[in-house]
C-alpha cells in the first residue's frame, strides 16, 4: 500500500470515523464517562494528603496530577484491540483486507476521529477543573510546546500496542486476555493509578525505562513541569523510539499473521 494513497484517503477515513462516533454518541459518552479511575484515585489520595503531603504531592498536587492524567487518558484512548480481535474471530477483517488501504491505517483513522468529539465533551470540564489547580502546572513554555507531540506519541504508542496485541488473534484464538494482562501492568507502571515518583526507587528505575511511562505519565510530567527542557527533549526522543519499535513490531507480526489468516465464515 503506498503511503501517498493512504494520505489521500485519510481525510475521508477521518470524516467517516467522526460520523460513526457521532452515530454511536450515547455509547461513546458512557464509555467516556466510565474513564473515571483518575477521579477515584484523586479522591483517595486527596484524603490521604489532607493530613500532610505524600512525597512531593500536596492535596492540590494530587488534584493537578490526576486531572492531567484524566485529560491525557481521554485524548489518547483507543479501542482497536477489541475491534481487531472481534473482526479477526468473526472473519469481518476480510472486508477490510479487500480494500487497497492497510486495515491498520483505517483503524487508526477511526480511533483518531473520535478524539475531537471526546475533546468537545471533556475539554471544557477538565479545563475548568484544571484552572482551579493552575498554580501546580508547569510554567516552562518549551514543555508546553512539547506537549502536542508527546500526546500524539502517547496516542500512537497506545494504538500500536493495542494493534500489536490485537493482531495476536491471528495466532491465538483470542488476544484480549493478553491485553488484560498488559492493561494490569500498564495501570501501575504508566502512572495511571499512582504517580511514578511515589514508588520505591528500585521500581521507579525500572518504570522509567519501560514503555508504559510514555503512554501516560510522560505527557502528565510535561504538564506539571517536572523536567528541564533538555531532559524532556531526551524523553520525547525515547518515546518516539518506542513508537518506531512498536510500528516495526506490529508490522512484522501483522505480515506473518496474515499468512495464517483463515477468514472464517461466509
Amino acid at each position: 500500500m503506498s503511503l501517498r494513497a493512504a494520505a489521500r484517503a485519510y481525510p475521508a477515513l477521518l470524516r467517516t470515523g467522526f460520523a460513526s462516533a457521532v452515530a454511536y454518541r450515547a455509547e461513546f459518552l458512557i464509555w467516556m464517562f466510565s474513564t473515571n479511575m483518575p477521579l477515584i484515585m484523586l479522591a483517595l489520595w486527596a484524603a490521604v494528603a489532607r493530613s500532610g503531603p505524600v512525597g512531593a504531592y500536596s492535596e492540590r498536587g494530587f488534584a493537578a496530577y490526576y486531572l492531567c492524567t484524566l485529560l491525557v487518558r481521554l485524548l489518547t484512548g483507543s479501542w482497536v484491540v477489541w475491534e481487531l480481535t472481534m473482526e479477526i474471530r468473526q472473519g469481518v477483517l476480510a472486508m477490510r483486507l479487500l480494500r487497497p488501504i492497510h486495515p491498520l491505517v483505517a483503524y487508526s483513522a477511526e480511533n483518531l476521529a473520535a478524539v475531537p468529539l471526546r475533546g468537545m465533551v471533556a475539554l471544557p470540564v477538565v479545563c475548568i477543573l484544571m484552572w482551579s489547580v493552575r498554580g501546580q502546572l508547569g510554567h516552562d513554555p518549551f514543555l508546553w510546546i512539547m506537549l502536542p507531540p508527546a500526546l500524539f506519541g502517547a496516542w500512537l504508542l497506545t494504538f500500536l500496542v493495542m494493534a500489536l496485541i490485537g493482531t495476536l488473534a491471528l495466532y491465538f484464538e483470542s488476544a484480549t486476555s493478553i491485553f488484560e494482562a498488559w492493561l494490569g501492568v500498564s495501570a501501575v507502571l504508566s502512572g495511571y493509578l499512582v504517580p511514578l515518583d511515589l514508588f520505591p526507587q528500585a521500581v521507579q528505575r525500572i518504570a522509567l525505562f519501560l514503555p508504559f511511562r510514555f503512554l501516560l505519565s510522560f505527557p502528565v510530567e510535561l504538564m506539571l513541569g517536572k523536567h528541564g527542557a533538555q531532559h524532556a527533549l531526551a524523553l520525547l526522543g525515547a518515546q518516539w523510539l518506542y513508537v518506531a519499535a512498536a510500528l516495526l513490531a506490529t508490522n512484522l507480526v501483522w505480515r506473518a499473521g496474515l499468512r495464517r489468516y483463515a477468514a472464517y465464515g461466509g
Partner: protein, 328 residues
C-alpha cells in the same frame, strides 16, 4: 485472466470430544487434524467469462474464492489473477477485483450507504466525474433511488444487498468474485441481481466467478461451471453438458384431459409424479421420440413439454455418485 495451477489449501483443526474430562485433557493435549479444503485444483478463466462454482457445503468453493481474492495464502500451487499474485495484495491488484459475500458486508452499519460510497471513492481514488457517472449508472441499474441516504441498518435485506453490490462495483473492478450473492433474497430480487451482474459483465467486459446454492443463479448467469467436491475439481464445462452427462434422461410433462392409470404411463416411461390432471415421466434420450409419439397416440394429452431434470436433482445425483464416477 485467472490461472490456477495445482492449488492446495489446508487448515489444521483441533479435535475435542464433548464433556468435562475431554475439556481438561485438552489443556495439555489437543489433537489436531489437517483438513484439505482445496486439493490440487487447476483451471483457467478468460476475460469477460461468467463462471459458476458449484459444490456442496465445505467443498472448497469459498476457500478458492478467498485465495483468488488474496484473503488466504495458498498452502501450495500457483495462482495468478490479472497478472498478479493475489496474496501479495498489491494496490494494483485490489483495484481490479471485488469480492461480494452474501453473508458479510462492507457498508457501515449505522451510516447511510452514501457515506461508504464516499469512503470508497477516496480509498480507490476514483476521479469525481467517473464516480458521479458510476453512481448514476448503478442507481439506475439497481434501483437505488431513495436508499442511499437511509442508515444501512434500516434497509431491508434486499435493499442492503443491492447497495452492497453497488459499493463493491464503484471502482469498476475487472474481476468479480461473488460468493452467495443472492442468499436470503426473494425471487424478484434474485432476478434483479442476475440482470445486473449480466449487464455489468457485458458493459465492462468483466470476468465473473460465482458461487451459489441457488441453481437458478448459476443457470441464469453462467454458461460455464466448475464443480468442486471435497476439494477436488470434478467437472469443468458447460452447464448443459453437465446435465446431459449426469442425467441424460429427459422429463416429459403431460397435461391430461382426464385421469389415466399408472400402468398406462409406465408403458411410456418412468413415473416421476402423477395426478389426475398431469403426469411427469422420465424418458431416456434415445427413447424420447418413440415415447412422445406413444403418449400423443395413447393418452388424452392436451399439452406436452420436454424438459431437462431440475438442476438441484442433477447436482444431488452428481455428489451422491461421488468423485470417481462424477461427471466422467
Amino acid at each position: 485472466m485467472i490461472e490456477v495451477d495445482r492449488l492446495h489449501k489446508s487448515y489444521f483443526v483441533h479435535r475435542r470430544d464433548p464433556g468435562l474430562r475431554a475439556a481438561l485433557r485438552s489443556l495439555w493435549h489437543r489433537p489436531r487434524e489437517e483438513v484439505k479444503a482445496v486439493d490440487g485444483v487447476t483451471f483457467r478463466v478468460g476475460a469477460a467469462e461468467r463462471v459458476g462454482f458449484l459444490g456442496p457445503n465445505g467443498a472448497g468453493k469459498t476457500t478458492t474464492l478467498k485465495v483468488l481474492s488474496g484473503l488466504l495464502h495458498p498452502t501450495s500451487g500457483q495462482v495468478s489473477v490479472a497478472g498478479h499474485t493475489p496474496q501479495d495484495r498489491s494496490r494494483e491488484f485490489l483495484q481490479q477485483i471485488t469480492l461480494v459475500m452474501g453473508q458479510k458486508q462492507q457498508l457501515l452499519w449505522d451510516l447511510p450507504p452514501s457515506e461508504t460510497f464516499l469512503l470508497n471513492r477516496a480509498i480507490y481514488d476514483i476521479p469525481r466525474p467517473q464516480y458521479q457517472e458510476t453512481v448514476a449508472e448503478l442507481t439506475e441499474l439497481l434501483g437505488l433511488r431513495g436508499l442511499l441516504d437511509k442508515p444501512t441498518r434500516q434497509l431491508s435485506l434486499g435493499e442492503r444487498m443491492k447497495c452492497e453490490l453497488a459499493v463493491a462495483l464503484l471502482h469498476r473492478p475487472r474481476i468479480l468474485f461473488l460468493d452467495e450473492p443472492t442468499i436470503g433474497l426473494d425471487v424478484t430480487m434474485q432476478a434483479t441481481v442476475h440482470g445486473f451482474v449480466r449487464a455489468y459483465n457485458e458493459r465492462f467486459g468483466a470476468t465473473v466467478l460465482l458461487t451459489s446454492h441457488y441453481m437458478d443463479d448459476v443457470a441464469a448467469l453462467c454458461p460455464r461451471v466448475l464443480v468442486i467436491d471435497h476439494g477436488h475439481l470434478i467437472y469443468d464445462g458447460s452447464l448443459d453438458e453437465l446435465v446431459r452427462r449426469v442425467r441424460p434422461d429427459k422429463r416429459v410433462l403431460l397435461k391430461l384431459s382426464r385421469p389415466v392409470e399408472a400402468r398406462d404411463l409406465q408403458k411410456i416411461g418412468g413415473i416421476v409424479s402423477h395426478t389426475d390432471a398431469q403426469a411427469v415421466l422420465q424418458v431416456s434420450q434415445s427413447e424420447l421420440q418413440t415415447a412422445v409419439q406413444r403418449a400423443l397416440a395413447q393418452l388424452p394429452v392436451i399439452d406436452l413439454t420436454i424438459e431437462d431434470p431440475p438442476l438441484e436433482e442433477v447436482m444431488r445425483e452428481l455428489f451422491e455418485r461421488g468423485v470417481s464416477e462424477g461427471a466422467a
